[in-house]
C-alpha cells in the first residue's frame, strides 16, 4: 500500500503543471484575440471610462510577464473578474449557478454509467443475439443524435402532449413552495434534463465500452482457468470477468464528469435550467468574456482533477499499475 500512496502523491504533483498550463492558455487567449484585451475583459459594450479603469486594474499597459503574475494573483485570491451583464462578481455567479448544474449532471452521469455498464455487460453475455443487436444499435443511434434535439422531443412528448413533466425551469415560479414540497418540485423539474443527459451520451457510451470490454475479457486465459476449476458460470462472469472488464469504464468516468460541463450548455438551454450552462450561453451573446474565461478555466481544471481521481481509483483497483 505504500506504493499506492507514492503513486497518489506522484500523480497529484503531476497535475499541478498541467493546471498551470491550462491557466496560461487561458491567459493567452485574451492576448491572442484581434481586439483589445481591455475591451474583452470589460465586455464589448462597456463605456470607454470603464474600459480604461479595467486597463489600469489589470495592468494591461504593463509588460506581459507582469500581467501574468497579476492574473495569477487574482486567481489565487478567488477573483475571477466582474461581469458587466449581471453586475456581479463572476465568482458569486458561479457559486449560485454551479450547484444547479451539478444537480442534473451528477445523477444523470451516474445513472447513465451504471445502467449503461449493466446493459453493456448483459449485451456482451448475450452477444450475437437479437437483444445484443438491439442494444448496440440503439446506443449507437442515441449517441449519433444531437442531445438538444432529444431534449426538445422529450419536452414536446412529456411536457406538452402527455403533460407529465414541466417544460422548463427548475421550479414552479408562481407558487412559493418550501421544505419538502420545494424539494419535490425541483426534483420534478429536474427529471427531464437529467434523463436527457443520461440517454444522449452517458448511457450509450458506457454501454459500448462495457460491452467491448466484457467481450474482450471473456476471451482471456484466466477465464478458461476459472471454468476449469469448476466454478459456476455466474461466478466466472461476475467475479473474474467483470472485475477486469469494468476497469476501462472507471477510467472514462472521470473524464466524462468533466465533459458533461460542456454538454450541460446545450441541455440547460433547452430546458431553461438556470445553471452554468445557461450562464455560458447567455455570456456568449453578451460577449461577457470574464464569465466565459472563468468557465473555461473551471471546466479545464475539473477535467484535469477528474482524470487524476479516476487514475488513482484505477490504480487502487488494478494491482498492476502501481508497480510500473
Amino acid at each position: 500500500m505504500a506504493s499506492l500512496r507514492n503513486y497518489i502523491i506522484r500523480r497529484t504533483l503531476e497535475t499541478i503543471p498541467v493546471i498551470f498550463i491550462v491557466v496560461i492558455i487561458n491567459f493567452s487567449l485574451i492576448h491572442l484575440a484581434p481586439s483589445d484585451p481591455a475591451v474583452i475583459l470589460a465586455g464589448e459594450y462597456a463605456d470607454p471610462g470603464y474600459i480604461e479603469a479595467i486597463r489600469i486594474k489589470y495592468g494591461l499597459n504593463l509588460p506581459l510577464h507582469e500581467q501574468l503574475i497579476n492574473y495569477l494573483n487574482h486567481l489565487l485570491r478567488g477573483d475571477l473578474g466582474f461581469s458587466i451583464q449581471y453586475n456581479r462578481s463572476v465568482a458569486s455567479l458561479i457559486r449560485e449557478r454551479l450547484p444547479l448544474t451539478l444537480l442534473i449532471i451528477v445523477p444523470g452521469e451516474i445513472l447513465g454509467i451504471i445502467l449503461g455498464t449493466l446493459l453493456g455487460a448483459y449485451a456482451a453475455r448475450k452477444h450475437g443475439s437479437k437483444i445484443d443487436a438491439i442494444l448496440s444499435t440503439t446506443s449507437f443511434a442515441l449517441y449519433s443524435t444531437p442531445s438538444f434535439w432529444i431534449g426538445l422531443m422529450l419536452i414536446i412528448l412529456f411536457g406538452v402532449v402527455l403533460r407529465i413533466f414541466p417544460i422548463g425551469g427548475y421550479r414552479t415560479i408562481f407558487e412559493n413552495l418550501t421544505g419538502i414540497e420545494y424539494v419535490l418540485d425541483v426534483l420534478w423539474h429536474m427529471f427531464l434534463p437529467m434523463f436527457t443527459i443520461m440517454i444522449s451520451w452517458c448511457l450509450p457510451i458506457s454501454l459500448r465500452i462495457a460491452r467491448a470490454s466484457v467481450m474482450e475479457t471473456m476471451r482471456e486465459d484466466y477465464i478458461v482457468t476459472a471454468r476449469a476449476k469448476g466454478l459456476k458460470e455466474s461466478v466466472v462472469f461476475y467475479k473474474h470477468a467483470l472485475r477486469n472488464a469494468l476497469l476501462p469504464t472507471i477510467t472514462m468516468t472521470g473524464m466524462w464528469l468533466a465533459f458533461s460541463i460542456t454538454g450541460s450548455i446545450l441541455i440547460e438551454t433547452i430546458f431553461g435550467w438556470p445553471g452554468m450552462g445557461n450562464l455560458t450561453r447567455e455570456s456568449i451573446f453578451a460577449r461577457d468574456y470574464p464569465i466565459l474565461m472563468a468557465v473555461l478555466l473551471m471546466a479545464s481544471i475539473t477535467v484535469v482533477l477528474a482524470s487524476m481521481i479516476s487514475d488513482i481509483i484505477y490504480a487502487y483497483l488494478d494491482p498492476r499499475v502501481v508497480y510500473k
Partner: protein
C-alpha cells in the same frame, strides 16, 4: 532492390485493400451506413435540382405545416424547411469533411513521429496528447468563436485542431506495432531514409484504424457544428441544420416540424458515418467477427 521493395509494397497494399473490402462488404450495418452517407452526398450535390425554393427565400406562408406545396413545412419567415435542410446538407458535409481531414493529417503526423522514433520524443508527445485531450472542446470553441468571430473557417480550424489526439494515439500504436515487421526492417537496412520508411512503407499499411476513427469523427464534427449553430455561433451566411433547429425552438409547440426534421437528418448522417467507421473497425479486427 528498391524496385523489388516497391512492387512488394504495392502488392501488399493492394492485397490488403482487397481483403479488407471483402470483409467490409459482409457487414450489413456498414453497408447501410454507406448507403445513408452516399444518399446525403448525392442530395447535397443535386441540391439546386431538387428544391423549389432557396434556403433564405421568403414566402408568404408563415408556419405552414408540411404539405404538398411545402414538403416539410415552413418557418417563421415563410422559408421552406425542406429546401433549407437540403442546402444545409452541403454545410454539414463540408464541415465534417474538412474538420476530419484536418484532424487526420495532424493526427497522423503527430502520432507517427513519436511512434517511429520512440524514446524521449515519445514521452514528450504522449504527455502533450494527454494535456490536449483534457481540454473541454466545446468551451474552447465557444470562446474562440466568441472572440474571433463565427466564420465557418474558424470553427473548422478549432474543431480540427482539438480532436486530433485520438488519431495521433491510434497512429502511434500502429506505427509501433508495424515498425518491427520484416519488410520494414529490410527497407531500413537497404538504406531508405526515415521519411521514406515512415510514409511509404509503414503508414500505408497501418492507416485503416485511423481512417475508421476519422470516419466516425466526421459524424462527431457534424454534431459539434449543429451544437454551435444551435447556440447561435454558427456561420450565419450559410444555412445549417443546427441553425434551423435553433430557429425552430421558439416555435417548439406551435410548429414542431421545424425542429423535428433537422434532428432526424443530423441523426441519420452521423449514424451513417458511425456505421461506416464501425464497419471498418469490424472488418479489421478478426476477433470481433466471431459468430
Amino acid at each position: 532492390m528498391f524496385l523489388m521493395i516497391k512492387t512488394i509494397r504495392w502488392k501488399n497494399i493492394a492485397l490488403n485493400l482487397r481483403a479488407f473490402w471483402l470483409q467490409f462488404k459482409k457487414g450489413r450495418m456498414a453497408l447501410l451506413g454507406v448507403v445513408i452517407v452516399s444518399s446525403f452526398i448525392i442530395i447535397g450535390v443535386i441540391a439546386p435540382f431538387i428544391t423549389q425554393y432557396g434556403p433564405f427565400e421568403l414566402t408568404n406562408d408563415i408556419y405552414h405545416p408540411p404539405s404538398r406545396k411545402y414538403f416539410l413545412g415552413t418557418d417563421y419567415f415563410g422559408r421552406d424547411v425542406f429546401s433549407r435542410i437540403v442546402w444545409g446538407t452541403r454545410v454539414s458535409l463540408f464541415f465534417g469533411g474538412c474538420t476530419a481531414s484536418l484532424s487526420l493529417i495532424v493526427g497522423i503526423i503527430l502520432g507517427a513521429i513519436p511512434g517511429y522514433f520512440g524514446g524521449i520524443i515519445d514521452d514528450l508527445f504522449s504527455r502533450f496528447f494527454e494535456v490536449f485531450l483534457m481540454i473541454p472542446r466545446l468551451v474552447i470553441i465557444i470562446l474562440v468563436v466568441a472572440i474571433f468571430g463565427s466564420d465557418i473557417i474558424y470553427s473548422i480550424l478549432v474543431v480540427g485542431l482539438t480532436i486530433w489526439p485520438t488519431n495521433a494515439r491510434i497512429t502511434r500504436a500502429q506505427v509501433i506495432s508495424i515498425k518491427n515487421r520484416g519488410y520494414i526492417q529490410s527497407a531500413i537496412s537497404s538504406g531508405a531514409s526515415h521519411f521514406r520508411v515512415l510514409f511509404y512503407h509503414i503508414l500505408p499499411n497501418g492507416l485503416y484504424p485511423v481512417i475508421a476513427n476519422s470516419t466516425i469523427e466526421i459524424g462527431r464534427a457534424i454534431l459539434i457544428e449543429a451544437s454551435l449553430s444551435f447556440l447561435g455561433l454558427g456561420d450565419l451566411n450559410n444555412v445549417s441544420w443546427g441553425q434551423i433547429l435553433q430557429r425552430g425552438r421558439s416555435a417548439m409547440f406551435s410548429a414542431p416540424w421545424i425542429s423535428f426534421f433537422p434532428g432526424i437528418t443530423i441523426f441519420l448522417l452521423v449514424f451513417g458515418f458511425s456505421l461506416i467507421g464501425d464497419g471498418i473497425n469490424y472488418a479489421l479486427n478478426p476477433r470481433l467477427r466471431e459468430r
